[in-house]
Point group: D2
């Protein structure tokens, strides 16, 4: 089969031929129909310092957002069968640690990470542990099924945020921010203020349901949020840019008692004035990293397969595996939004 | 009457004679039986830069933790009557802002602060708005009644923390931290790890129910917490020291999915590595500043009047109003724990 | 002014001329622009035994669902002003009882009921206490504004039910049930099963968003729900019919751990087999009677004024005050759905 | 080994010799050190009609509350090892049904019931599936360890009830009610009103922490609760008697917005006046049947092993397996409270 490989501790990936792997007792072999490029894949490509800690050994196959068809199952596999349409949950839990024993397998302390610590999905075939294999609705196209995984984290933020009839600010309109905008609209947020310095992405945010667009290089996001909320500030902020400065400033327009969700990973240290920004405000700050297994998936599947959430505006490019260099160059340039790899065979 | 006054923009207070004030229509005149010195009173005394923003004009009477007896009521007052034993809620709500209209009067956006923006209780008599007057159980001694207010914030942290059968770290064993320790014991925390650099206060924490005492100048708090929790970290951390460095380090021993409550006001900027410390941990951070009106009070009153929580170890000194200088000097020195002022008359 | 009056302990109402009332200090005089007939108004009209306990004295003006314009205010009124578009909250709280003091004014123990224990809105003008007057969005038509009140209870059921991606059964497709169907669709319920024996109302439910319609006189609701849920049963049931037998049977298709909301008032005793129907199922049963003041209103207002929820299919008839007999006859016959009275002047 | 057997569809059990069973791959063989008699064991003994549906085939070994030592493990067992002190969770989940896939294995739809549908613990040795085996704290005596299982359900009621500083009524002072009383005291309930017609059990309730005792054959429970709560009613009621009439009456002294937990299984149909008793009260009713796996166990273990909860007053009798007839006769008579069987060997 063809597979993209991270082979060296340096920039770049390679496309190679390799044998189709064999599933072990509790594993599933999936023929990949669609895969999507995540921000962490760009870090693997560029081989940034923080991402290295998530990798165990080279070479490995990157990629973790995918959908496909089950073509072989290990002999103890019971939850899926040949021909099933499936996706992969990236967080592979051990089942035995404190987190797993407390219904939080998505934050397993011994977690394997699909496409990071074990082989992923940028290939024609991929091995997925049964415990991380999700059977998809029959009517959900593969190109949408591969996006359930990245949808899950912003979905949790919007749901925990209880955004109904409230004002929400989404910082950063990459794919994660776009999902946050779209799901906030579905959930009935009143003001959905999307912020990005990329006008193309702001336009996509408008199509996803943002009620107000702000380019912080052109106007003050603080002034705009206060003016849209009678000076109260936003009840919910979802930080999806990973920009430390944007996050620090967000506390200034968070409403007293408001909720700030951190999804984007900042490279730099945050500098926060704890007394006025957190304590006097009784702020709630919540980091989010994974998806609740499987409640988050269920909600995401229903949003997509019912047509309630239309994510077409987010999917801007598709490439074959062979054209992966082109795909990564566009992704790194910030052009478009979500970029898919479609293995052809 | 005798009253302590903040008269000048400089260090110190003055004790003076002044007329007993007259309650307006919706106000209550209370003869003060006991008052307690809070950390913010020390800042008023020292006239630190951050505290000045809470003061509207000079001179004024400081002090906000108190109990006493109603001796006169305005003609529209209905909830209390002459002779009632009462305490004061420091946060005086406007009743009309967004916060007040959403059942959060304790974070009112137009809040008056008893003993800061309006006259407080370091005097023989004090005016309390009816809306901030709390009738106390008859069997609750005045010296305990004046401590319901400072008890309220750590109480909320312990209750929101859901500490039952969990591990909790309390950073800073001043009065706030001591309440956190004692209430955690009542609520059934399994490991209560109290940290302070003051050995006298660690001893008080032991009497309040701490199961482990750590002086971070003598051993690593990180190592101790990890060793006491099988390497999982603490499920709940209550920061009551206001020390920025202690708070920054706390993220390292917070369990994945754990909750960190910020109560102590740090003077310096916090520097936090957001990705590993908040996002990958799915941490929950919560600032707490006031008491839920009146649910927090009810729980605190029951803990004290039933004898479930014994706070005798926390009350280490009592002085008359005339000896206020002595009282403040001891408080500033860090000797003892909670210091009361008892007007004699 | 013209007003409908309940004058005698017997069937029927009378339309009479009477003086426009004068607002007291904390009251508001509202010119009624639209009023709606509730099921309880039918009981007042028919003078059924259970409704009598809610009435204090005769004669009085019935009607409690309304919107209008402020034309006069008492001298202490501060939250609304002349010309404001407003609606009335039916539950008038005392502000002093245990419930009021615990943020639950909608279940006040000394509650006055607008249009029952005090004069209501089936008139050209109506007095509303300031505390129960709700300022409406400017862009919300009066005919929709008068329906915020009845929307509130089913809205709470849907929100507490957490119906996202779940299966919900709505029993009874009168106005309350229709709101439940429509709001469930907005909230993203996957299967919305509407049940009624009235085919016209089932058709309205389809327009409101029901995914499945069941007439229990023609097929087994139990069989249908089980077949639509893989035998698991429905996660949420909203009982809005007041039919005791329908409610009793609902336990049989409630999923283990499911939630059943009771809104419709049954006339007869319920007979429930507690062990299999409640305990072994770990069922959650919740009675709902009022609206959270004002959080429920905010959400309802946003749903209507943003156009997210279209309630046009529910409003089937409008009459002048003079034609009230015609209006009540149609309402009692079960024809149509929500019937409005529009005072003309 | 010696084992108690239910052999015939008739009253009574038999004690017999049989071979020690062999654990399968994912099973554990436990040498039983203490077992306790539950109300459902009395129904198995008496062979009442409702209990028969839980039994799959005869003969089988009854008993499900136990503790012991692991003496053999199947070859795939990983969570416990030889010599571990353990207890058994009665609800054996399938791991695959909707409930299991939604973090509710304790209400598994294909649940096996230890001591009912599969062999239980009234024997010298017992087979426990690994998934239902709970490792106990080393310092917890066997006689207490066997009571973690029955403690779990009342523990959940008290915790979900949020009884802090609130009034609670416990109906029925058998072992389940006694646990509810004791845990309510630990959690800081203000008024704990215990009701039973058995004076011996009321005395035990006093020792467990009840603040008020009511024998409903001697005085009106309704009057007493109202008088103790200023006429507001109780915020939380835990029904542990299984008496239908007692449950029906409880709605009359449930506070508006209050919570009623049903644990005791009534034999007769409940007759409830839904409008005043549930809807106008906005009551919350919750059936409870199992324990959250393993969160409930953790809390229960900590309460017992830390000494916070002393359950000595509840354990009134101990018998050898050979004396089982004596044990069951006493249990059926209502004498004493919790009765243990201690296999000697």
């Amino acid at each position: 089969m063809k597979a993209i490989l991270k082979k060296k501790e340096a920039v770049g990936f390679d496309l190679e031929e390799m044998p189709v792997p064999e599933p072990k007792e509790k594993e599933v072999l999936v023929k990949i129909k669609a895969a999507a490029i995540c921000g962490s894949d760009l870090k693997l490509y560029k081989w940034t310092s923080k991402i290295r800690s998530l990798v165990k050994s080279l070479p490995f196959i990157p990629g973790h957002e995918c959908s496909g068809v089950v073509v072989k199952v290990g002999k103890e596999v019971k939850m899926v069968k040949l021909g099933d349409k499936v996706a992969a949950e990236t967080h592979i839990p051990c089942g035995k640690c404190w987190q797993c024993q407390h219904n939080r397998p998505h934050t397993c302390q011994n977690m394997e990470l699909f496409g990071h610590s074990v082989n992923g999905c940028f290939a024609e075939y991929s091995i997925i542990p049964e415990v991380s294999t999700r059977k998809l609705p029959e009517d959900l196209p593969f190109e949408k099924g591969c996006l359930l995984e990245p949808m899950g984290i912003p979905l949790r933020a919007v749901y925990e945020g209880e955004v109904e009839a409230d004002s929400i600010v989404v910082i950063g309109c990459g794919p994660i921010g776009q999902f946050a905008v779209g799901i906030s609209r579905i959930k009935g947020a009143e003001e959905i203020i999307a912020a990005d310095i990329n006008e193309e992405r702001l336009n996509i945010a408008r199509r996803m349901g943002a009620t107000h667009l702000v380019n912080p290089q052109k106007e003050s996001l603080l002034d705009r949020v206060l003016s849209l909320t009678n000076g109260n500030g936003a009840g919910v902020i979802i930080e999806a840019s990973g920009n430390a400065e944007a996050l620090e400033k967000a506390f200034n327009y968070l409403r007293v008692g408001g909720k700030l969700f951190m999804i984007g990973h900042p490279e730099e240290l945050l500098r926060i004035d704890g007394s006025p920004q957190i304590i006097l405000k009784e702020a709630r700050i919540r980091g989010l990293f994974g998806r609740e297994i499987w409640r988050t998936w269920e909600i995401a599947e229903d949003l997509l397969s019912s047509g309630k959430l239309n994510i077409d505006p987010i999917i801007t490019h598709k490439f074959s595996l062979e054209d992966f260099e082109k795909a990564f160059n566009i992704a790194i340039s910030g052009e478009g939004c979500k970029i898919l790899l479609i293995p052809v065979s």
